[in-house]
């Protein structure tokens, strides 16, 4: 989805502040939220990691931007536990003693119609173009590279295709590729001529380019 999570290249954000000697968790509830995220996937087996990532993407955009990272972790996890029928939203709100914001529902037709690519189609050095897709569901081709031309630097092993895994589509594994895009092509007139961005992209997201 073209959601608030797809932040790469969005303008208007300020300086990055690095905390010296940052602890693993700042607050005890953050460790609990992390643990509940893990346990929901590994012990409860409520959902997979792609469903989980998408549940965070489906948060109210204003909530997403102002929330702490572990608040997003908790909101996505709780949303799926409710959607999958393990917990009830009313019970969570009653226990929390107030409103418990959950993520919005999955879109009606969440997947782009992409042919599965069970065998690798590309090799190191190949020129490829990212398809101009914009499905309403989970997709891991960031918007900033769609439609752009890149060169394959590396072919990684096969991994589960996330769009399908998130949306009960045809499960499949496909190779991913480290595809290099010239910064000058992504954002004309901004980056230095020798800068580039490398995006790790599943075979299905790509087409040959010449």
């Amino acid at each position: 989805m073209d959601g608030i999570h797809d932040l790469g290249g969005m303008q208007g954000f300020g300086k990055i502040s690095v905390e010296v000697d940052e602890p693993i968790f700042h607050e005890p509830w953050q460790a609990t939220a992390f643990s509940l995220m893990f346990a929901s996937q590994v012990v409860v087996r409520s959902h997979n990691v792609d469903e989980y990532r998408h549940s965070i993407e489906r948060m109210n955009p204003a909530h997403y931007l102002q929330a702490d990272y572990y608040e997003r972790v908790l909101t996505g996890t709780a949303s799926l536990l409710v959607e999958k029928g393990h917990l009830s939203a009313a019970d969570l709100a009653a226990r929390a003693g107030g409103t418990f914001p959950l993520s919005r529902p999955v879109a009606p037709a969440p997947m782009a119609d992409l042919a599965p690519q069970l065998e690798h189609r590309f090799n190191v050095g190949d020129r490829v173009r990212v398809l101009r897709i914009a499905p309403a569901g989970h997709v891991r081709a960031p918007r900033f590279c769609r439609g752009h031309l890149g060169v394959v630097l590396h072919r990684a092993p096969k991994f589960s295709f996330p769009d399908a895994a998130a949306h009960n589509g045809l499960r499949r594994k496909e190779h991913t590729y480290h595809v290099e895009f010239a910064a000058q092509d992504l954002w004309p007139g901004e980056g230095a001529s020798n800068d580039s961005v490398v995006v790790d992209l599943w075979d299905s997201y790509l087409e040959p380019a010449n």
Partner: protein, 199 residues
């Protein structure tokens, strides 16, 4: 969010925990186990990998050929470390890692990511204006050095393999590892030159 009566995040977290416990879907032991698991994942692990690569050319080659195996050799493996790739720094090229869409990181060798890495500011800006971001963070790069930003959009997890600074020829492995911070492993900081520091 305009809703004024949102329950505090501590209470919402407790609510999910209690609901799962009451339904018998998880146990208190599960919660304890996963809450403490991140303690084993830390940038000191990645630093040891780097120190070893600096002092053992065969290991360095194994790390560049198959970082997953090379990290595992030192005991560093697990979730978010299923396919690790080491990015070799050279005098001509600097590498920097980001995950624009969430906050993916090579947990076993970098640890859980720090707040700045998870911030919208870093995620939005570093792909588009890496030199300005790095400069703001204290890393000035020469125009001759190409910048490659690595977007963690699939299952590869990256770590930066920095250049060994001059003046460290007689350092122990531990002393070498101590030079390598989490920020160095992500590519937003350079190793301070010990030779210059001594002056």
């Amino acid at each position: 969010m305009k809703q004024p009566d949102i329950a505090p995040i501590e209470q919402r977290t407790q609510a999910v925990k209690d609901a799962l416990l009451d339904k018998g879907l998880i146990t208190g032991a599960d919660i304890e186990r996963f809450a403490h698991m991140p303690e084993d994942w830390k940038p000191e692990n990645g630093a040891k990998v780097v120190a070893r690569a600096w002092t053992d050319p065969a290991y360095r080659q194994r790390l560049l050929d198959d970082a997953t195996a090379a990290c595992s050799e030192l005991g560093y493996q697990g979730p978010q470390g299923e396919y690790i790739v080491a990015l070799e720094e050279t005098p001509e090229r600097h590498n920097v890692i980001v995950c624009t869409q969430c906050s993916c990181t090579a947990w076993p060798v970098l640890g859980l990511p720090p707040d700045w890495y998870k911030s919208p500011e870093y995620r939005a800006r570093v792909v588009r204006e890496p030199r300005r971001v790095l400069s703001e963070m204290g890393l000035q790069l020469s125009d001759d050095v190409a910048v490659r930003v690595w977007e963690t959009s699939a299952e590869t997890r990256y770590m930066v393999l920095p250049q060994r600074p001059p003046g460290t020829e007689h350092y122990t492995q531990d002393a070498l590892a101590a030079l390598v911070s989490r920020e160095v492993l992500i590519g937003v900081a350079m190793i301070e030159n010990p030779a210059e520091k001594d002056e």
